[in-house]
Amino acid sequence: MDERDEDLILGYLNGNHEDLKTLIDRYTPQIYNFVVRFVGPNSAPDVTQDVFIKVWRNLKKFDISKAHFKTWIFTIARNTTTDYLRKKKSIVFSDLDNEEDIFEDTVEDEVSLPDEQLEKLEDKNYLNDLLSKLPMPYQSVLVLYYQEDMTFKEIGEVLGKPLNTVKSQHRRALEKLRTLIES
């Protein structure tokens, strides 16, 4: 049976180093899948490694009672990726923050794509190609929501944005995806 993240963290803090290894094995694929979209396949292994080194250095400070480990590690991944891109003078996650903040509660939660468009997305290379054409905040929201099963609230914590901004970015991302498929 899989141990909960919190139990593994407590185990590691009590001196069981194998628990940290289990956490690394568990989260490496997810963190890699997140960072590779922004930094590319050549740098992704190094950035992923940096994320885990930061986790290892700061695990003692992580408060199990206040946050979920998954949200915390993805926040570190987001910050590490931003730092990497900043050093390379690329775009950062917050580029669209101001534009998105004007959205209010009226934004719908459930948005999807028509069946014929979904069929086109069955080609995973095509879907990844379309995703790479989206602005970074949109990509982040879609990846965290659909691939990492996070709630909008959790995504907001990872990206440091209000709930309504995340919802509006999700809606806009799908609209943009739809436009890209049509074009």
């Binding site: 001196g15 690394i24 490496t28 890699y32 979209r37 099963d149």
Partner: protein
């Protein structure tokens, strides 16, 4: 239904890291931990030895200085004139405090703190295997 199918499509499109990536990360962290243990062990061992040496010197100095300050005379008053001290206890406490070599006492307490802190870190590191969680 539509929601779940878009989720399935996204999950299918996940990028996969090389199998050995998590192994590489674990190896790197283990190496960094070993290096940190070596460095910090030296730091804490050195601070233990230095603080213990400093403490011994300061205590020896304290033993020499204390009779010159009149501290023992004040203490002997406790036995001989206890009831007067009860009446003028504030003045007595002030005089005793003034007679104490405050710098020596503060330094010795500080060094004891450094010594105990270093020993605690070294023991916890032995138990937990890392200074980061010790």
């Amino acid at each position: 239904m539509k929601g779940s199918s878009i989720k399935d499509l996204f999950k299918e499109a996940s990028y996969h890291s090389e199998m050995k990536l998590s192994e590489d990360i674990w190896r790197t962290i283990s190496k960094k931990n070993e290096r940190l243990i070596k460095i910090m062990s030296w730091v804490y061992l050195s601070s233990s030895i230095l603080s213990l040496t400093g403490f011994i010197f300061i205590v020896r100095d304290l033993i020499v200085k204390l009779p010159q300050t009149g501290f023992y005379e004040y203490m002997s008053l406790l036995a001989s004139d206890g009831k007067y001290i009860g009446t003028y206890w504030k003045e007595f406490m002030l005089s005793v405090t003034e007679s104490l070599p405050v710098t020596n006492i503060t330094l010795s307490l500080l060094l004891v703190f450094v010594l105990l802190f270093s020993i605690r870190k070294i023991i916890l590191r032995k138990y937990k295997g890392s200074f980061l969680i010790a």
